[in-house]
Amino acid sequence: MIVRRRGRLTLAALTTAVLLLAGCGGAAPAPGGELTVALQFPPRADYAFDADDGARLQSLGVAETLTTVDDGARPAPLLATSWEQQGDAWRFTLRQGVVFHDGTPLTPEAVVTALRYVAGVEAPPRAVRGTGFAIAVDGPDAVRITTAEPDPVLPLRMSSGNLGILAPAAYAGGGAPGYLRSGTGPFVLTEVDGAESAQLVRNDAYWGDRAGAARITVRYVEDPQARALAVQAGDVQFAEGIPQAQLDQVRSAGAEVVEYPNARTVPLQLNQSRPPFDDVRVRRAVTAAIDRPVLAGQVLGGGAAPAADLFGAAVPWGATAPPPAADVTTARRLLAEASHGPDDPLTVRLWTFPNRPELPTLATAVQAMLAEAGIRAEITVGNYEAQEPQVLAGDYDMFLNSRSYLSDFPDAASTLTSDYTCDGSYAIDRYCDPAYDALVDRLNGTADPVQRQELFRQAAGMLTADAVGVMLVHPVNTAVLRGATGFVPDPLQVRPVLPQLTPTG
């Protein structure tokens, strides 16, 4: 009897365990199912390669580039398996056995057609703009890319999503390439409904690892609250860009929350071309007055990491040690040294714009922190377009900006040049130091990624030492999963996001 009862108890326990496991089936990957995902930014230019939309086909896992990047932000093989520099040119050897979604093979001619198209448009993508880009077939399995000057980072440039390669038939119409069923990636783009949605089907003939889901419906949902609610309602299994305020809400609904760094900095730019910020003591006083950990943790509620440097944790050469807290005593001392004391309070204009909602909030907090140190900041929140000409002309005091420090491929030379050299095209701080320019100039002859990254680090260090603006925070990216697994965060934003997602349960 006892044995039978024990047997029943064991059976009940086993049944319960099986049921519990079945209930927990949500956590077990179930490859081959379908997913619906909510992405933050809809395509604005019909997935055009010459616009920022171009990278979308890459992040969806539809189009592929000659190279990709590894975790160390170094070039890695993708459609090209190897490459070598030959003077002004680089020779890329193509992967064998790759087939476009329309069934045609990847050939050097196809690569030439695709890249000639995108390099020849009215406004070519930043990755190749102004480089004197030219491409030609080089044997049966390679292409040769030439630039006006020897380019040490061409393999890295080729990882830009704007340089995706579609089947030759896509370019036959003469206009923008047809992106349906013409990539080489793990997903085939079969249907697009404008800026609303897109349908992806797994490419079972893919040359690499198969995608985790058999089919994905992509919904473009701009409203962050709507994305969060869609996850909670089970309408979507993956969503990106959930605001900090709603993370607890989606967590409580059983969603997995992933937070990862963003290659973006919010700098408080200071006009060095005229008083008071032509005096490094005043710039340092501003730096000391601002409590960056408080801005990130309290003002933005953890939606950003405090910035110690121009570059943050998103890149291997970024600073990860936290910046110091505010030191108002030092700030006041430095201001006094610069002849700004209680009898001569410093009044400055602080401009910013509302396109990024965190900026006006940060401006108000910065205003309060500066007031503690004896600096009166008058805030103007206006249209960026209207402010930009004056800011670029050096007719401003303080400008709270938001800046991505990587442009389409993970190399910082472009930002370091355009924003901080004496002749930079976006040199808002109007910083000019021949030593800095010489350091950045060395990047032109440095191909080794490790050496380049060391130069990036040194350049950022010079900017910090010279108090070239105050790097306030690095925003944090968020993604949530409920009913899916396998999300691989990509702070560099050049690798596909969707192929790894796998339905669960």
Binding site: A45, A51, D193, E196, D223, L229, A233, E385
Partner: protein, 315 residues
Amino acid sequence: MTGLLLRRLLVVPPVLLAASVLVFALPRLAGVDPARAVLRARSADAVPDPAVEERIRASFGLDASPVEQYLRWLAAVLRGDLGNGYVSGVPVLAQVGTAATVSGLLTVLALVVAAAVGVPAGAYAARRPGGPLDRVLGAGTVAGVAVPEFVLAPWLVLLFAVGLGALPALGWGGPEHLVLPVLTLAAYPGALVAQLVRAETVTVLARPHVRAARAKGLGEHAVLWRHGVRLATTSVTALAGLLVAGLLGGSVVVEVVFAVPGLGRLLQQAVPAQDLPVIQAGTLLVVTVAVLAGVLVEIVATALDPVQRSARGAR
């Protein structure tokens, strides 16, 4: 009546012409440089390249004088050619047409729901002013008028999509996708209609001819609907024109929250991208619909109201 119709319709062309001037000029007066907007919208964080900017300016015909650009644009619009979006390159007519169909459906359904709920609610509340039903409906209509769409929409999603799992939280396609956006859009006009019908009906029910009707033995139900509500519908009809314009404008929030591909959402995407052809076409369409709805409502209200009809006829 025909004279009234003609007089009202004759006003429409000059109003629309004036609107077209404003629609064309306002973005430019606000400092939007279309060529730079094209570049920036396609490539965020771009530092404008003057040479590329000039090429874009020429290729879009933006190097002509503003008057020439306006006349060229107006002539094209009158031909039904709205051009291609600066940003997307997609024909504007197709974009605006699809979006307007979606918004139009939402607007009509919201008005139907508002009338279907608001008229009987207001009428029954008017039967016993101050009674329990009146007080409950009064509180409900105050909430309907006061709670903004951006608050109501998430609450409806939390209740019906997250809580009950009965309806989708967002998207567009099947009839189930209509329910929550229509309920959100109908809340304000429904409450307004209920308040108006209640107030009008209370007034009418106190008039001598209604008391006489009651004295002759006419049932309460018949008194309410034949005498009270019938007159109140004239005011509701007059309100409808304003509601149509309000719904077209107010649908932005609803379309964004529910990811519905309507006109409001199209404009919400086009404005930050400064996609002028889309902004101009969308705005002109909204203005046209609002003007035509206003005229139509005035004519219908006149036709329904014998007092107004005879007064206008006597002019």
